[in-house]
Subunit: 222 residues, 2 copies
DNA sequence: TATTTTTTTTAGGTTTGTCTAAAATATTTA
DNA sequence: TAAATATTTTAGACAAACCTAAAAAAAATA
């Protein structure tokens, strides 16, 4: 089915809200995500319901149908492939690519996606560590935890971020916290949850606030 | 100035009509190019006039202002860069890329264009031999002639096409008539303008109808 | 449980880009 | 040059995607 930019953005937003919270998806939550008024969301949701892309009963919240989820995942796949293209081929930094990928994700061409995927080496993650769904829409997602849940003196690898804002990403760059970096928690302050961590390739310990720690995803190094 | 897809398409169409015929640009000609009704063209042209992108007086035809031309050339630049990307990096054939580039040409990001341009090696031509305007909007266009105007027994190089339709391009592929190919006209039939040409790397002469010949651009090999 | 507050929907309106039909203007032809 | 024809514009309408304000329903609170 041929969807408009706007329809695709709503489906993507609904998918992402579902990823975060598992209770019912409200009109207001969608309005916040797509930056539109709740009234506009109701309009669009009714339209998507007629197209059988979402399940909807008034006042009862929204969920994606199988078709709707397929479309949403397709858009996310394209977004992440383009982000990786921008970083790995064109030399953009990871804090610069979101807005451009928001445009590129709506380009419609199955063969383009297929070729781009191969061109990039059939990647599993985008530049922020988010998984890129495969051709069939399956996410490859190995076990990751938040840095706030890390154990002391265990070697982890930085493998993703929760906050994708350019400001946060630029802060991480400045701290040398790039994807793949090896991290060991050396000290945790009970009072405020802040921690001192050791970074591979640097002797001095790094101070990390809990606000930063809860936006970093790590996995154990086997 | 931020333009809509539609506005950009109109400006591009007007630019291309001007390239072909030098008399006044009519509402009907634009309607044909953008596949809209003449009434819609009038509406849009009036809007572009208010935005100072075209010169317009009712019933008197249209022309691009300096600003309008700048925007049109920017879109054409992006279209041709993307076409080259699709062919040279993703492995598409020259007959497959037009429709995808029609979408990609509207992506808005100056830094993206800049980086794409470098990534592609600051190219001068797209996969069809059309010149890619440089950063300042200047076209590099060396002297080319139509194959119909070729002299007998002179060595030329195939360097562009007039007809960009997939059917024509696929026909050329089948005939081995790819860009850069060396061509010598060996025989011309006065009656119908058809010709026999010698292709570098092939012993037998190739028969070419005048309809094909007048859609091929060549330049003399120095 | 009744009232208040919050959320969601409906009603009615706007803008963009399109359309058809009719009117106005320009061009061609007799 | 007058009539016929073709082109262009205007008028009025429509769909998509949004908006605000008001009404309806649900949820929270007293």
């Amino acid at each position: 089915m041929q969807l408009s930019f706007s329809e695709e953005n709503y489906l993507k937003a609904i998918f992402k809200i579902r990823e975060q919270k598992s209770d019912k998806i409200t009109t207001n939550a969608i309005a916040l995500a797509v930056e539109a008024s709740p009234a506009s969301v109701t309009d669009m949701v009714q339209k998507l319901h007629e197209k059988k892309l979402v399940n909807y009963q008034r006042y009862q919240g929204v969920s994606l149908t199988t078709q709707g989820e397929k479309s949403a995942v397709g858009v996310i796949r394209k977004h992440r492939l383009w982000e990786l293209f921008l970083v790995s081929k064109l030399g953009f930094t990871w804090d610069e690519v979101h807005d451009i990928a928001e445009q590129l994700e709506h380009i419609q061409s199955d063969s383009l996606v297929k070729r781009l995927y191969s061109f990039l080496g059939k990647p599993k993650w985008d530049p922020h560590g988010d998984p890129i769904p495969d051709e069939r829409g399956n996410f490859y997602s190995p076990k990751t935890i938040l840095l706030t849940n890390a154990l002391k003196d265990i070697k982890y690898e930085l493998c993703g971020v929760i906050d994708h804002s350019p400001d946060f990403l630029k802060y991480l760059d400045k701290q040398g916290l790039t994807l793949g970096k090896k991290i060991t928690v050396k000290q945790i302050t009970d009072y405020d949850g802040s921690m001192k961590i050791a970074l591979a390739g640097s002797k001095s310990l790094k101070f990390i606030s809990v606000d930063v720690a809860r936006n970093l995803l790590i996995s154990v190094i086997k």
